[in-house]
Each structure stands twice: as C-alpha cells, then as structure tokens.
C-alpha cells in the first residue's frame, strides 16, 4: 500500500506592506506555527513584493533551522518555508 505525506500550507500575504514589517510578520508567523512547521506536515508560504525580503526572509528562516525556497510568480515573489530534512 502506497503511503504519501500530505503537506498543508499556511498562506501569508504581505504584498504591499512596509519594510521591515515583512520580516517582523514572517518571524511572528514562524514562532506562532513552530510546532506544525517543525513536524514537516506544514509549510509557510509567504507572498511578497519587497525585493530585499527574498534575501532577509530565507536567511532568517535558515538561521532558525528551516529550509526556504524562493521563486518569482507573476509580479511578486513566493517564499516557501518548511522543515529541513536530513
């Protein structure tokens, strides 16, 4: 029987927000959902139009032991943060 882990996402839309509220809001979300994110079953998906957030958010997340990926979607950036495997 095939077993597949279902990963749910928490969407965090910070488009159009002021710097550095973006990083503050993401750090708060990481703390608020720490248990779920560390379990590996949930990922935090951040949508931002703030260019420097593509540097600061992944860097902060990695320092906290998470894995982070960035991709450009349409006119904004999407940062996906979750448990670091291995």
């Amino acid at each position: 029987m095939e077993s597949r882990e279902i990963v749910e996402t928490i969407d965090l839309n910070i488009l159009g927000q002021v710097c550095p509220a973006c990083l503050l809001v993401v750090l708060k979300a990481l703390n608020d959902h720490e248990e779920r994110l560390r379990s590996g079953k949930t990922r935090l998906v951040v949508r931002t139009d703030h260019r420097d957030s593509t540097r600061t958010v992944p860097e902060s997340a990695r320092k906290m032991g998470y894995e982070a990926q960035v991709r450009k979607v349409d006119t904004y950036y999407e940062i996906s943060i979750g448990r670091k495997d291995g």
Partner: protein
C-alpha cells in the same frame, strides 16, 4: 555662460536621478534599513555597504579638491553646527524606521507601486508644510542653540583634517580588502535583475562626486519635497504661502562662473527645482522603468491600518527632522560626513539615537 542655462542643470540632475533610480531599485539600497537593522535585528550585513559609500565619497571629494576642481575652504551648503541638528537627527531616525525608508528609498519603493510609500511621500510633504508654519520660531531656536566656530574640521584644522581624511581612506582600504578576502561583499538574493549593494555604493559615490564637481554641492533632495508641497499649497492658499518666510528665502546657492544661482523651497522654478527636483523626478522615473522592465510594477492595495498610520507619521517626522537639521541622510551622510562638517556629525549622532528608539517602537506598532 553655459552654466547659466537652467536646462543644463535640469538634465544633468535628471540623468543622475535616472541612474540612481535604476541602481537603488535593483539593489534595494535602503540606507534607513541598513541603520535600522543594526538595532532591530542586530544585523550589520548591509552596514558595510553604507560605510563603503561614505568612504568612497570621501575619497572622490578629496581627489576633486586635490586636483583643484573644487576648493577645501568652504563646505558649501553646510552651516556651523547647531544642537537643533541633533534633535533633527533623532526625529529623522525615528521617522525613517516608522516609514520603512528615507527620502531616497521612499521614491524607488513608491515607483514600484507600493501604496504605503505613497503615504510616506505625502507625509514628507505634509511635514515640510508644517515646518514652513513653524519656521520663524524654529529659526530663533536654531540660532540660540548654534555652536560657535567654523563649519567643519576642514576649516578648523585644514592640514590635519586633510591628513586625517587620507589616513581614514587608507585604513578603510585595508578593511575593504579584508572583507573581500572573507567574501563578505556579495549578498545572496533571489530577486530578478539584482544589483549587488557594493556596486550600488560605488554608483552612489560616483554620482555624488559628479554632482559635487558640477555644482560644488553634494546631492540633496529634501527641499524638493518642500517645494512640491509649496506648489500644492499655493494652488489652494496663495496669499498664505506668499507671506510664509520659509518659502521666501533662498537655501541653495550655486556659484556658476561669476554669477550666483539661487534656490529655495518656495513655489517657483529655481535651482532647487532644476537640481533636487530633477533628481527626485529622475529617481522616480528610473525606478518606475525598472519595475516595468522586471515585470514587478503592481499596486497591491492599501497596507494594514497601523502600518499606513506609521508610514504617514514617519514621513512627517522625516521632513521635520531633515528641516531641523538643514538636510536629510543623503546630504549629511553622503555629503557632510565626507566633507567633515560638524553639522553632519551632530545629525549622524542624533540619527543613531533615533534609529535605536524607532527600532524599539516599531514592533509594538506593527505586531500589536
């Protein structure tokens, strides 16, 4: 005389602005963020890029004066220090943290379509108009708090200041090479078309030196906001604007050959419009074109209420701080510090205190 032609000034500064808008947008070279992050996140990563911009400007200004294209004797645009400048720095520092940007970064962030920075922009203009109302009273206060003596170290001890400047450049060079060996200049960023902040610092210093070579004045921009406000208020209350002392005085003097070209915050086309106004327009357009080119321009709607309120209040404080200190962070950090002006040293001291206070306030406002 070529320099008497205002359009020459306008297009020169517009060109500088277009280049700056491009580089600032792509690198997200936010000086407010560089200082704020030290206190808010204990992150000094981008501080070295600001240091590079200041030291490189110092080096280029020194070179321009050693060659004889500008003189050492007067730091044009910088008066003797006043303790009111420290207060200006504190107010400006709190304002830039609340606003999430300074007088430069507000422009390139607004040009990308972010409405929060439109609020900062409006706040800066509102703060400038408020200052115009308070001007007579604040002028008296500034004179009472003025420090005796010359405007800067170059006037107080010319030879020693010159030697100290070269020593500082040499010392910084050693530091820069060390950082290069430790691979600390490059920042990882996933944003498209990213320009490394060290390269932006080089551009800023070079364009600032170009402006200094052209006019004898380092780059400045905050009076252009006051002028925009004056034009707007003049449409509604012309009689009131006409009797405001701040809008009737000249704050900018450029020597062009034998003649002096003047400019002020008042609602008229003068040297402030042709230099600072053109720079403001250039940064806006440069950043806007780049946001379009990178397919990033989009208006995402209004920011959360608390952020919007903080942004507008921050803008008002940016304007008040800049006016109290006779200049903004661009003029003082990238102009006055390299020219060793006391006024700029006082502003910088106040700015650090303000950034620290702002970093304490901001999380309470945003995360409540």
């Amino acid at each position: 005389m070529l320099y008497d032609n205002p359009w020459l000034w306008f297009f020169s500064y517009l060109g500088i602005g277009l280049l700056l808008g491009t580089v600032l947008y792509r690198s997200d070279f936010c000086m407010a963020g560089m200082l704020r992050d030290v206190f808010l996140f204990r992150d000094r990563t981008r501080l070295r890029h600001l240091f590079l911009a200041v030291v490189l400007t110092l080096f280029l200004f020194l070179l321009v004066r050693e060659v004889g294209w500008q003189t050492f004797d007067s730091p044009a645009g910088f008066s003797r220090g006043s303790l009111l400048g420290v207060a200006g720095g504190v107010v400006f520092g709190i304002g830039m943290v609340l606003a999430g940007g300074c007088v430069f970064s507000t422009l390139y962030k607004m040009a990308g379509g972010n409405l929060a920075y439109v609020l900062v922009f409006c706040g800066i203009i509102a703060g400038s108009l408020l200052y115009a109302e308070l001007f007579p009273w604040l002028q008296v206060l500034e004179q009472q708090l003025a420090l005796a003596g010359p405007a800067g170290l170059n006037q107080l001890w010319p030879q020693a200041a010159r030697a100290a400047s070269w020593l500082l450049v040499a010392g910084a060079l050693i530091l820069f090479v060390t950082w290069q060996r430790q691979d600390q200049w490059q920042l990882p960023s996933a944003s498209e078309g990213y320009v490394q902040p060290w390269l932006a610092a080089v551009f800023l210093a070079a364009l600032n030196a170009a402006a200094y070579l052209l006019s004898g004045l380092p780059l400045g921009i905050s009076t252009a906001y006051a002028k925009l406000g004056a034009f707007a208020e003049n449409l509604l209350l012309p009689a009131h604007v006409a009797q405001l002392e701040y809008f009737n005085r000249s704050s900018l003097v450029v020597r062009a050959g034998e003649s002096l070209l003047l400019g002020g915050a008042g609602p008229r086309l003068d040297m402030v419009a042709y230099t600072e106004g053109a720079l403001l327009l250039g940064i806006l357009l440069g950043a806007f074109f780049n946001a379009l080119l990178l397919r990033e321009f989009r208006i995402y709607g209004r920011p959360p209420l608390r952020q919007g309120g903080a942004a507008f209040a921050g803008g008002v404080m940016l304007a008040l701080g800049a006016r109290l200190a006779n200049g903004c962070n661009i003029k003082h950090l990238l102009g006055g510090l390299p020219l060793l002006s006391f006024q700029s040293l006082l502003f910088f001291g106040g700015l650090l205190v303000g950034a620290w206070v702002g970093a304490r306030l901001l999380p309470r406002i945003i995360l409540r």
